[in-house]
């Protein structure tokens, strides 16, 4: 290749990547997001199981009071390091409606690992009625549904971290209606969810926020570790494949003038 063609190719590549960058970036939004360093980012990124367990406890004790997580089953918790018996115990903590039985009646039974996470409210109306008219969204995919500002798409965790930590007093001149809260990470800054986490003896707010954000990332993207591992193998294969193809190409084309 002549120098000019190399320059042209580089310019084209840069323009192309810039275009992709535009696409990957988010539209104008007013929310502020604080970037954190996550164990699951990067080419070899993987979850920190202890962090996920801590996040799970927060979910169970705090979030699950209002938010459902309908796409996850108790059995999924084995992925974050709980034993089968522990998972059975988690499931058995809730009563699940089943049936109809042979007499045609619905009945309650303790949860099993194959059950989906039990929702705190039986339906949307009940959820709104219990929350001042606001609907607490399902959290199964929240980490993916709020991503978008970062290139590698794991920034949903950054958003969730920011949402947990950026409750503030409203600035002068801004009035927040009764039952609403001011949060700099939330679109429009006005959110119906009261601050769910605060500094405690066990852990500072920042750590709790990181833990729950990591847990929700796992919930949305449980295949992340397998995806990264498969990706590494795929790339290794492709590098060898491409080198062999290039060598073959050189050899085959050697006599073309």
């Amino acid at each position: 290749m002549s120098k000019r063609r190399i320059v042209l190719a580089v310019v084209t590549a840069v323009a192309g990547l810039a275009a992709v960058g535009i696409v990957a970036a988010n539209p104008v939004h007013h929310a502020e997001v604080h970037t954190q360093s996550w164990s699951f980012n990067g080419f070899f990124g993987s979850f920190d199981q202890e962090q996920l367990k801590r996040g799970h406890v927060i979910y169970k004790d705090v979030c699950a009071g209002c938010h459902s997580m309908s796409l996850l089953a108790y059995r999924d918790l084995q992925d974050i390091g709980y034993t089968e018996d522990e998972v059975k115990a988690f499931a058995a903590e809730v009563q699940v409606e089943d049936g109809p039985n042979d007499a045609g009646e619905m009945f309650e039974r303790p949860g099993r690992p194959s059950d989906r996470f039990k929702a705190p409210f039986p339906n949307e109306q009940a959820a709104r009625a219990g929350n001042n008219g606001a609907l607490p969204p399902d959290l199964s995919l929240m980490a993916k549904a709020r991503a978008g500002a970062g290139f590698l798409g794991h920034d949903g965790a950054d958003y969730l971290f920011s949402l947990m930590t950026m409750y503030k007093d409203p600035p002068a001149g801004v009035t927040i209606p009764e039952g609403m809260y001011y949060n700099e990470a939330f679109k429009g800054h006005q959110i119906a969810m009261p601050p769910p986490l605060s500094d405690s003896e066990e852990a500072p707010l920042d750590q709790q926020a990181q833990d729950i954000a990591a847990f929700l990332t796992w919930a949305a993207e449980g295949n992340l570790e397998e995806r990264h591992r498969t990706g590494i193998k795929a790339i290794l294969f492709l590098v060898i494949f491409t080198l062999l193809a290039y060598a073959t190409k050189r050899k085959v084309w050697a006599n073309v003038h």
Binding site: V20, P27, K144, L152, F241
Partner: protein, 467 residues
């Protein structure tokens, strides 16, 4: 070109009755190809590869997917969570759409630069444009299937475009919806057509290749092959060269699938479709953005729709708009500049399609800000009241270099981009055909120039120009 003698008696027996092996030998093995094709010519076969990938992953996904408004979203999540390797299939398919468009866009721009649309390959080019149109329809319908927020609202916006058609517009929309709003019947017909259209594309691709093989590939010099000294058999030369290119391309593809599978999509589509709640910004996938920008840059709905479709349909008549006898842009000193501006223009249009039309782009600080923020900055820089600034901002195209508050409203930028896009095809190309003096075109591929000059030296110094 005698029929080959096959050693295997079974193949010989079949080939005598059904000459399919002779045909393949003729079309895929000895098929004479210009020996000077560069890597831009790799993208046709890459597009074919992506079509196969999309069909294979798509069929397997369809085995697990449920086209019903109550189940579609969760069935996709079931594929992601419970189906063995389901996440891989879905991410391959989802990112595959983007990869397919990247490859096809490069393929199209290659054709635009090297004049591949010119006689005698006009039909070949038009078939390609038809494939592109079918791809756009297919991708749109596929995007509806997961039934997320953007699926639903995208479907609503795009189907509503047809209501701009005079007289029968509303009837067309009702027919598309299968009812009076985007609902289950809409999802069902989208699924049926999303399954059907790829096979229609495959059929048109076969005809596209038939048309290609009539005169063979064009080449970077844009001149006809003059004989066997200019060509080499497709196999092994281009099969191996394309295989190398495929390896590079698959690494690029793998990067998105394994490390950024959701980066090219809109996060809002991970929320279940909700007809009662409109997303803040309804934005199409990146490959539609330039057309979305053209649509929005015209205030009248019908004219906007007409402009959007015209921006693609204009490609059908391109061979007759560009009358220059020289195919390759390499030998057209003026054309070259306009071509690269067109590439840049399409990137700008893509950019305009992405952001809200009323937002402002501030190119020096590389920021996109909404109208309020921009107004506030104008007020600050000029030291005037907010109302006064609002008035100024409302009037201006957004440019005021004197005070430093340089910014351009996205919709204005889109209008400029649209203007250039159409001007390129309707004004620039026809005029260049008359006024441009092309450089000396080589006589043949083997003998790059007819008399002296640096190209001869170049050719002898580097006889193996093959990268």
């Amino acid at each position: 070109m005698a029929a080959p003698v096959f050693k295997n008696p079974v193949i010989r027996w079949i080939d005598h009755r059904l000459p399919i092996f002779s045909y393949l030998h003729h079309e895929a093995y000895e098929y004479p190809t210009p020996k000077n094709l560069n890597y831009w010519w790799n993208f046709g076969s890459l597009a074919g590869f992506m079509l196969i990938v999309m069909i294979v992953t798509g069929i397997i996904l369809a085995m697990q997917y449920t086209p019903h408004v109550d189940h579609a979203f969760n069935s996709v999540e079931r594929i992601m969570r419970d189906v063995n390797w389901g996440w891989l299939l879905r991410y391959l398919h989802m990112n595959g759409a983007s990869m397919f468009f990247i490859v096809v866009y490069i393929h199209i721009f290659r054709g635009l630069y090297f004049g591949s649309y010119k006689a005698p390959r006009e039909l070949l080019w038009q078939l390609g444009v038809l494939i592109y149109l079918l791809m756009m329809a297919t991708a749109f319908m596929g995007y509806v299937l997961p039934w997320g927020q953007m699926s639903f609202w995208g479907a609503t916006v795009i189907t509503n475009l047809f209501s701009a058609v005079p007289v029968i517009g509303d009837d067309i929309v009702t027919l598309l919806w299968g009812g009076f709003s985007v609902d289950n019947p809409t999802l069902n017909r989208m699924f049926a057509l999303h399954f059907l259209l790829p096979f229609v594309i495959l059929a048109v691709v076969i005809v596209h290749i038939m048309a290609l093989h009539r005169f063979g590939s064009s080449n970077p010099l844009g001149i006809d092959t003059k004989g066997p000294q200019d060509t080499i058999p497709f196999h092994p030369y281009y099969t191996v060269k394309d295989t190398f290119g495929l390896g590079i391309f698959m690494m690029f593809y793998a990067f998105w699938v394994f490390w950024a599978p959701n980066a090219l999509g809109d996060p809002v589509n991970y929320e279940l479709a909700n007809p009662l709640s409109t997303p803040e910004h309804i934005v199409p996938e990146w490959y539609y953005l330039p057309f979305y920008a053209i649509l929005r840059s015209i205030p009248d709905k019908l004219l906007g729709v007409v402009a959007m479709f015209a921006s693609i349909l204009i490609l059908f008549v391109l061979p007759w708009l560009d009358r220059s006898p020289v195919r390759a842009g390499t030998f057209r000193p003026v054309f070259k500049w306009f071509f690269w501006i067109l590439v840049f223009d399409c990137v700008i249009l893509m950019f305009c399609g992405k952001y809200p039309p009323e937002a402002y782009w501030m190119p020096f600080s590389f920021e996109i800000v909404d109208a309020d923020t921009f107004t506030a900055r104008v007020a600050e820089v000029r030291g005037i009241a907010h109302d006064q600034a609002l008035n100024d901002v409302g009037e201006m195209w957004g440019v005021n270099a004197a005070s430093g508050d340089f910014g351009i409203k996205i919709v204005r930028l889109g209008q400029l981009g649209t203007l250039y896009y159409f001007a390129y095809f309707l004004i620039v190309l026809p005029l260049l055909s008359i006024f441009e003096t092309p450089r000396q075109v080589p006589l043949s591929i083997s003998k790059p120039v007819l008399g002296g000059g640096k190209n001869v030296a170049h050719a002898t110094a580097k006889p193996m120009e093959k990268a």
